[in-house]
């Protein structure tokens, strides 16, 4: 199998790269949709780690967790899209920096 031939460090680097891309998106973007996508990237970076280590150690637990994360991500997107719709309705925009009225 290809997986066996590729050293685990490579997967780590890939996961770190995806995570950094996601983090960059979260830190710099103002568009809520892009925000959601960046969060997906963050979650999937974690998923890669879980799957790789599960395979590496011959343990199924990590894969199960990856499934959980996917389910949670789906739920999160559902809620996130809902919030974005409300943002659009109230502010006429999906800019996350506009919605600051509930802070204090």
């Amino acid at each position: 199998m290809v997986l066996e031939t590729v050293p685990v460090e490579y997967y780590m680097v890939l996961s770190a790269a995806v995570f950094c891309a996601g983090l960059f998106g979260v830190l710099t973007r103002r568009n809520a949709l892009l925000f959601l996508m960046s969060v997906e990237l963050l979650l999937n970076a974690a998923n890669i780690n879980l799957v790789v280590f599960a395979f590496y150690w011959g343990e199924i637990t990590g894969q199960v967790f990856a499934l959980f994360v996917i389910a949670i991500a789906a739920a999160e997107v559902a809620i996130g899209i809902g919030i974005i719709l409300v943002l659009q309705r109230n502010f006429g925009d999906v800019d996350v920096t506009d919605a600051t009225t509930l802070r204090w």
Partner: protein, 676 residues
């Protein structure tokens, strides 16, 4: 348990029921609650007499807990219970008799005069009687305290009965506050007794007086004090309540003002309830006081001093009820003196005869006040003896009893108080001579002011139009007066100790002494107290010559002084138009009319000292205590309002913060873990 003790709670519940009925349905009751009240107190009187008779016949006392307020495993139970021994059984009869007669008299004084607020008045009388009776049968100090307070509350309500006028509410507040000041010490004393002994029961070998006796014998220490010192502190604290209620110096100031209340209420307060409660409390826990020579000496001195002090003020008063008020203070001084001088029997004897003749005098004064259309100034009376013979004769009997003239009841009891004080003073307690001298001087003054009062009220020419044509009184006034008038003459017969001693012991006529000394197994009998007094306080009897010589000397001295006082009053005030002799006293009269400026100094104490102290405390509270609290909260507030700025509401900032924090955490772990 015999049937009669099953019925004991009814003694208290009957007047309580009359209270409830008069309070809620008074307007629809016959005579606005007077009938119900009279019937209830008559029932109480019957039950009390039955209880007394039962105790006399069988010698079986009653001491039982009826209700547990707080059931505590670790500390002590707080309970209500009933204690019927010789003292409480006799006191029940006194209280219910006076209460019954006062109810009947009130028909004449309140109903016939068309006074307002009658249901409220009879409700007050009912509650007053009920709480005093409950206080009398209390088997422990806590219950006694609760009903002691209730007695104080009722006197407040009744003194302030005519609350629409200016003076009565003020007098009521004063009575309440002054006695409350004493009760404050009492409350601390109750807590102290409970903490020290784990029980507040009065009687039996489990009662706190017996425990105190054992603790002193075992030489125990409490909180670093010797047993006797600590018990003296407790005794003095409880005594504070007794002095307040019994109007002893310096707490006597409330009592003359309390004359603002209706006269039957004054009779009840002075003869049987409020004021008697203080003396009764000391007698109730006499097994405790008998262990404490210091406290006994204080009681004796306060009593002797009060007897003289109040008698001097009574000499110059112009209003009939004022004279009686000061005489009450003075007579309770005698009772306190008797208790302090170690004669429990004499104190209770004087309490009994005083209850009879003082109730009689107040009701007589009430009758005079009805006749005079509520004018109390004796200088406007005069010549009433021909107009109201029943009142005159009974009032005269009461006065002679008060003055201590042979053979009226007051002579026997006052003489026994003085005699016991004298023999204990001779027997190695020379300090008692001081108290004895003051009490003797008071005998002279008592004779003087009593006869002055009688002469000014009933003799001579009428000095006003109302005195010439007084308002008549009906049976409901004459009946209580007649009952009490007869009793005032013969009540001394219950304890003719001098006669027994003169007969060499062959005539057994000291009934009360035999009754109170009898051992019924509760350790509250007089003989036990005498042993305690002898062992702990060192009271022994000694005589000038023989016992009979001392007896005759003492009795002759007090009777001589009383007659001298009475005779000088007669000489000064007997004419058809008596002169105002007291005005010749000049500055002394001013001093006496102002009651030695006691009110002024107490007001000064309240305004100059207490108010200032409390305003200083207020400043401290507002400035330092509240200041510290406010400073803490304002620091938190301002810190919070600055810190909340980091909550921008922009999600990117939060993400950045989380990231930076995570990195910082990693760096910290790296440094601590030694990776770097």
């Amino acid at each position: 348990m015999s049937v009669i003790y099953e019925l004991t709670p009814a003694i208290v519940l009957l007047p309580l029921a009359s209270f409830a009925l008069a309070l809620f349905f008074g307007a629809w009751l016959p005579r606005r609650g007077a009938v119900v009240g009279s019937l209830a107190t008559a029932g109480t009187l019957g039950l009390s007499l039955a209880t007394l008779a039962w105790l006399l016949l069988t010698g079986e006392p009653h001491n039982q807990t009826w209700y547990t307020l707080v059931d505590a495993d670790a500390t002590f139970d707080l309970t209500f219970g009933i204690l019927i021994d010789q003292l409480s059984a006799a006191m029940l009869v006194i209280v219910s008799l006076i209460a019954f007669l006062v109810h009947v008299f009130s028909l004449g004084y309140m109903n016939d005069e068309g006074e307002p607020g009658l249901p409220r008045y009879y409700a007050g009388l009912g509650l007053f009687t009920a709480s005093m009776l409950a206080f009398v049968i209390a088997d422990n100090l806590l219950m006694a305290f609760i009903f002691f307070e209730l007695v104080g509350l009722c006197s407040y309500l009744l003194i302030g009965h005519w609350f629409t006028e200016d003076a009565p509410p003020s007098a009521a507040k004063k009575a309440f506050l002054v006695t409350r000041f004493g009760d404050y010490f009492f409350l601390v004393g109750v807590v102290g007794v409970l903490v020290t002994f784990g029980t507040a029961g009065f009687a039996g070998s489990e009662g706190f007086p017996v425990l105190a006796e054992e603790a002193i014998a075992a030489g125990e220490t409490f909180f670093g004090f010797g047993a006797e010192t600590w018990f003296s502190v407790l005794g003095l604290l409880v005594l504070g309540g007794a002095l307040g209620k019994s109007a002893q110096f310096p707490f006597h100031t409330w009592l003359p003002d309390a004359m603002e209340g209706p006269t039957p209420v004054s009779a009840l307060i002075h003869a049987a309830t409020m004021v008697a409660a203080g003396v009764y409390l000391v007698a109730r826990m006499y097994g405790f006081y008998a262990l404490l020579p210091t406290v006994l000496a204080i009681i004796a001195f306060v009593g002797g001093f009060t007897a003289l002090f109040a008698a001097t003020m009574a000499v110059v008063k112009d209003e009939i009820k004022q004279v009686l008020a000061y005489s009450t203070i003075s007579q309770y001084g005698y009772m306190m003196l008797a208790l302090g001088a170690g004669s429990y029997v004499a104190a209770f004897f004087h309490l009994t005869t005083h209850a009879v003749f003082k109730a009689l005098l107040f009701l007589g004064a009430g009758s005079v006040i009805i006749a005079m259309h509520h004018d109390e100034d004796m200088w406007k009376m005069g010549g009433l003896k021909d107009e109201m013979p029943v009142t005159y004769v009974t009032f005269l009997f009461g006065s002679l009893a008060l003055a201590g003239i042979f053979p009226f009841s007051g002579f026997w009891s006052k003489d026994e108080v003085l005699f016991e004080t004298l023999i204990h003073a001779l027997g190695g307690s020379p300090l008692l001579f001081g108290a004895y001298a003051m009490a003797l001087a008071a005998v002279f003054l008592t004779g003087f002011y009593t006869i002055r009062m009688v002469l000014l009220t009933f003799h001579g020419e009428p000095r006003s139009d109302t005195a010439e044509d007084p308002h008549g009184v009906r049976w409901n006034v004459k009946f209580p007066l007649s009952v009490l008038g007869v009793l005032a003459v013969i009540a001394g017969g219950i304890n003719l100790v001098p006669v027994e001693k003169l007969s060499g012991g062959s005539l057994h006529v000291a009934f009360l002494e035999g009754y109170l000394e009898r051992d019924v197994g509760l350790l509250t009998h007089g003989e036990h107290y005498s042993e305690l007094l002898h062992d702990h306080a060192g009271y022994t009897s000694a005589y000038v010559g023989s016992e009979v010589t001392t007896l005759l000397l003492g009795a002759g001295l007090s009777l001589g002084l009383a007659l001298l006082g009475a005779g000088s009053a007669y000489g000064l005030y007997r004419g058809a138009v008596p002169t105002r002799h007291t005005e010749k006293l000049g500055g002394l009269r001013t001093l006496l009319m102002h009651n030695y400026y006691q009110d002024e100094y107490q007001v000064w104490l309240a305004e100059g000292f207490t108010v200032r102290l409390s305003s200083a405390a207020d400043t401290f509270d507002q400035g330092v205590i509240d200041g510290a609290v406010n400073a803490t909260s304002s620091v938190s507030l301002s810190a919070g309002s600055r810190l909340r700025r980091i909550q921008t509401g922009i999600v990117t900032n939060y993400a950045a913060l989380i990231l930076l924090s995570l990195l910082a955490l990693l760096v910290v772990f790296a440094i601590l873990g030694g990776w770097l």
